[in-house]
């Protein structure tokens, strides 16, 4: 919403400066988004008198002028044809910035003669496009600031334009008078009385109005109109054109400009039909669906059933409360005009406007809410203005429907301001504020003014009082703790797990990413998603069309982007929600990590190597361990199709309880996602990890054995597809009491072993608890280990 200071002065008697007004508006909740003040740009220009002008000796078009200024007599070279002795001109002295030529004036020589300033045209000061010569002022004293002269003689040239943001609850501030009322209530001036008009119809309107029965509720409450015949439409007067231009509107013709004036002056959209183009009577009704109309914006609209329109005898002529039709619009040739003021159902306006995608000033105001009580008065005021500017003779009023009664009152509880806001404002001041805003106080009942549809309860009265008093006066008041003493921990188990997983993974050398929750359909489909349930109806791009089914696709895309930038060694992770459906709650927390390239840049120690699945396995296990997962797990195959079929493992507690998965990403996926692999990934489902059984902080006693532990190595030759864990479990089962640990330390494939065979070497650690182990004891356990392992694997002890 834009308005000029002089427009505000139409309604508000005030001496407040633009700065004071701006600060008050922002504080009142009408946030100032910008102030354009021409006076600031022109502050340095002063008035001077040319006391002597003569031809420049070396240039036909230049004159050497002696100019009287506040800094004495200056010599100024001027090229304007009207630069002559005796005129009063506007001077830019050296150091003055001239906006129209984007130059700061200096002292210079023009064709050999010094010039100490510039005399300016209107264009050079961005006052107009006028550039035929320099400004000749009819009055003005030498040394007077030009802006002061303008303010006194041509104020519209230095009229500041203020733009404010309007929150949806304040339609009343979409009119300059509403803004003035807020400022007056704040104490920045007094309201001038509103204009009044009373029109006596001279003849019966030849156009009648009806509202269909089904359109009276939720459609059009009241529709008033009148014909004005014999008008002369043409350009509107200069003052009106200037006002509209100042707020960014294009003057069109007097009749149209008058409707725009009321739109911005009083938040009162109006419509003017060219009565000669209206066939028969006007009827407000609901569209059947499929009808079309070319609007004033020259676009064709097709109506849906139930949308509220205005028709004449031949069809739809206007979209009620949103936009008029082109065919019945007023032109310069219009001589008979039908003026309309109506109250439309704001929900209907919003839904129709949204469906037709029309963003007009009328829709904007009608959907937020206009003052229904002003409807008929507005008709008379606008009629008066039409007669004043265009002449003509008014008919009587024609009206369909009834002005809705929006009167309501709420109890003012003066103590509520203190209890809700925490400000101490005397009751008398509260009453005064509400009265100033247009509320009518009857006892403790506050009657809400008809232009404030937002006030719907007692809390709103508190809001008005506090807002006008200024929330800047609010002083913070300590809020007591909910409990005495040291605050209790507040994170849930899931929240703690999320934090632990994040910090552990970062500690393992991964960089945390936050990638978008939506990805492209193709990438989603590669990871089991991309179905319609997780699809957005209105994505901003096809790259962001589906909710992610997993975190890995986003990390792979991030890896590809980094590879494209030359970062080939990538360790990324993310902790976040993935989506398994489109209903609220169909989301689950994941932790995923991704390794691509080498373990690090090549280095002098030769330690850098390609990442492999045992990197991600160790990392996944470390994270699981940090999250409190049991140490004893199963590693199963059979993961989803985005894993390399032979190079992945699911970390499970039983076949259905998958805590995590690690492995190599399927090469087909990498190709599709343009990642140079191989790539290793892991994913953990924190929610699957069983809740800790032990609820106390007690760690249990440490059992330290005094007896020496013994380690023995074994190597077995087994088939190449036998898994190491089978050997480990078999060996560990040989004597559960004695065997403390079994570790695989070597794998050897092929060579002398022959095709399809491998050797696995393990260290078994025996920890006696009662007595020192004797050779015989060790022999016995060793034999049992060999027996168990060979039985479990079909392998043999390597000689």
């Amino acid at each position: 919403m834009k308005f000029t200071l002089s427009w505000l002065h139409d309604h508000l008697e005030t001496t407040a400066s633009v700065t004071e007004i701006s600060e008050a508006l922002t504080d009142l909740g009408l946030e100032v988004e910008g102030v354009e003040n021409p006076a600031e740009r022109l502050a340095d220009f002063t008035i001077g008198k040319v006391i002597h002008a003569e031809q420049h000796p070396d240039a036909d078009r230049l004159r050497v002028c002696k100019v009287l200024t506040d800094e004495g007599e200056l010599q100024i070279i001027c090229g304007a044809p009207n630069a002559r002795t005796g005129i009063t001109a506007v001077i830019a002295k050296p150091g003055t910035y001239v906006p129209g030529i984007d130059t700061t004036i200096g002292v210079g020589k023009i064709r050999g003669i010094e010039s100490h300033g510039m005399m300016c045209s209107e264009r050079e000061m961005e006052l107009s496009d006028e550039h035929d010569g320099i400004i000749e002022l009819p009055s003005g004293e030498v040394g007077e600031r030009f802006v002061d002269w303008l303010a006194a003689n041509d104020p519209s040239k230095v009229d500041p334009v203020i733009e404010i943001a309007i929150t949806p609850n304040r339609p009343d501030a979409l009119g300059v008078r509403g803004i003035a009322l807020d400022l007056a209530a704040r104490g920045l001036g007094t309201m001038k009385p509103a204009k009044t008009a009373h029109i006596e119809g001279q003849f019966a309107s030849p156009i009648a109005i009806t509202i269909d029965e089904d359109t009276r509720t939720g459609g059009c409450e009241v529709f008033g109109g009148r014909l004005i015949r014999g008008v002369t439409n043409g350009p509107s007067p200069e003052w009106l054109q200037k006002r509209l231009r100042a707020i960014g509107l294009r003057p069109i013709s007097a009749l149209v400009d008058i409707t725009n004036f009321f739109t911005y002056d009083r938040n009162r959209p109006l419509h003017v039909f060219d009565a000669d183009k209206v066939k028969g009577n006007l009827r407000v009704h609901r569209a059947e669906g499929g009808e079309t109309l070319v609007g004033l914006d020259e676009k064709e609209y097709t109506f849906g059933p139930g949308q509220v329109v205005i028709s004449d005898d031949e069809g739809i002529e206007s979209i009620g409360g949103i936009m008029g039709g082109l065919a019945t619009g007023c032109t310069e040739a219009t001589t008979n005009v039908f003026l309309e003021a109506a109250v439309w159902d704001h929900i209907q306006i919003a839904t129709t406007g949204r469906a037709l995608k029309i963003n007009s000033d009328a829709r904007y105001r009608n959907e937020r809410g206009i003052d229904p009580a002003f409807n008929m008065e507005a008709l008379d005021l606008a009629t008066q203005m039409i007669i004043d500017l265009c002449g003509g003779e008014p008919s009587n009023l024609v009206v369909a429907g009834e002005v809705p009664d929006v009167s309501r009152a709420y109890t003012l509880d003066p103590a509520r301001v203190q209890s809700l806001v925490g400000m101490d404002i005397p009751e008398s001041e509260q009453r005064q504020t509400l009265t100033a805003l247009g509320f009518r106080m009857e006892g403790n009942q506050a009657q809400v003014p008809s232009w404030r549809p937002d006030v719907m309860g007692e809390a709103d009265l508190v809001e008005e009082v506090a807002r006008v008093a200024s929330l800047t006066k609010l002083v913070g008041k300590p809020m007591p703790r909910t409990q005495t003493g040291v605050p209790k921990p507040i994170l849930s188990l899931t929240q703690k797990r999320e934090q632990i997983a994040r910090r552990t993974t970062a500690a393992l050398g991964y960089n945390e990413c936050v990638t978008y929750s939506f990805i492209d359909q193709a990438s989603a489909a590669l990871f089991g998603g991309g179905d319609d349930a997780t699809m957005l109806a209105n994505p901003i791009s096809s790259e962001m069309s589906h909710m992610r089914p997993a975190l890995l696709p986003g990390l792979l895309q991030a890896a590809a982007r980094n590879q494209a930038r030359g970062q080939m060694n990538v360790a990324l992770f993310e902790v976040g929600q993935a989506f398994h459906g489109g209903e609220p709650g169909e989301q689950h927390l994941l932790v995923s990590g991704l390794l691509v390239g080498q373990t690090g840049p090549k280095d002098v120690h030769g330690a850098a190597r390609a990442v492999d699945i045992y990197d991600v396995k160790a990392d996944a296990e470390a994270v699981l361990s940090a999250l409190g997962a049991p140490a004893k797990v199963q590693i199963l195959r059979g993961g989803r199709e985005w894993w390399h079929p032979g190079r992945h493992g699911m970390i499970c507690l039983g076949p259905k309880k998958v805590l995590g998965i690690f492995g190599e990403i399927h090469p087909r996926i990498l190709k599709a996602m343009d990642v140079k692999g191989p790539a290793m990934g892991f994913t953990i489902w924190p929610a699957e990890i069983p809740q800790p059984r032990n609820q106390t902080a007690n760690r249990g006693a440490l059992e330290l054995r005094d007896l020496q532990a013994v380690e023995r190595d074994f190597a077995f030759v087994v088939d190449a597809d036998v898994e190491a864990l089978t050997l480990v479990n078999a060996a560990a089962g040989a004597d559960k009491a004695l065997i403390e640990d079994v570790r695989i330390f070597d794998e050897f494939i092929g060579g002398s072993l022959g095709e399809g065979k491998k050797s696995l070497a393990m260290t078994v650690r025996l920890q006696p608890t009662e007595t020192t182990l004797k050779d015989a004891d060790i022999e016995a356990v060793s034999a049992k280990i060999v027996e168990k392992v060979t039985k479990a694997t079909g392998g043999t002890l390597r000689g």
Binding site: E31, T167, S419, V514, S517, F518, M535, A537
Partner: protein, 357 residues
Amino acid sequence: MDDLRDKYLTAIANAADEAALEDLRVQAVGKKGEVSLQMRELGKMTPEERQVAGPKLNALKDELNSALAAKKQALGDAALDERLKTEWLDVTLPGHRRRPGTIHPISQVTEEVTAIFADMGFSVAEGPQVESDWYNFDALNIPGHHPARAEMDTFYMHREEGDNRPPHVLRTHTSPVQIRSMQEHGAPIRVIAPGRVYRADYDMTHTPMFHQVEGLAIDRDISMANLKWCLEEFVKAFFEVDDVELRFRASHFPFTEPSAEVDIRCSWEGGTLKIGEGDDWLEILGSGMVHPHVLRSGNIDPDEWQGFAFGVGIDRIAMLKYGIPDLRAFFDSDLRWLRHYGFASLDVPTLHGGLSR
């Protein structure tokens, strides 16, 4: 006997290596060494002679043993020094590399915010990111026709043909978590709700996904003055400054009444933001007293309970605090950015240790 002493002490002092020293040891104090041989002679002496010669011989033996040990130590030290002289390494070569990981600023700042509000008795609530339009809008006093709905640039989920429920949305704010928390826990309640939110907007300063933290405090007598205090404390703690000036400006949000935009006093000298000084005001959050309609949506009686709510952009305060210029880069996962703006894994923000280091 003195001759013997001098002979061996000289020989020991001159021994070239451990082998020579060992030879000397055998010769002197070994079982058949000269000293041992002389000791055997003691038996043939008279008791008087023995009383003189015995201690002398013992003393000689001790002295030679000490000399041998000392020389052995000296020879060992010299040999070690000699060896170490050859064991020179280029200490300017790089150490074995460890891959440093990082925490994303959004996670870090979320933990900072959590630490501050936890101290003021707020717990952390979460909610679904795909929301019903009731939780995202209606429950928050934004009915279907409300202009705020159109202004929020909402993402809608696809609806199957024949499913006539209103489409679900990607939550446009974390405020639906207010409703879910009130429904679940009732009053009194103090929660914050950090998380991802979505709006269909993408330009220099907007991304279609960003992060908010919602705050909600409901009790019997919580006022807007408490809100101001709570935010003042938060801003001071978060930006780690001793003093801060907040400005409340009247505004409008459908879910609060009265509503206020909150600005902090700051300066932008040399492009660096300084909180708490200067003549500029920086808008950082929206807040207000929870609207009675919203309390009712949360099954809380507005005649009995009241309180405040606020919403802060996590990405935004992260940018302000840590001087991060571009919002879009938060979600690009550029390794260079992650390493520069990321935090060490052990930089856990705490109130006692400080939020940032």
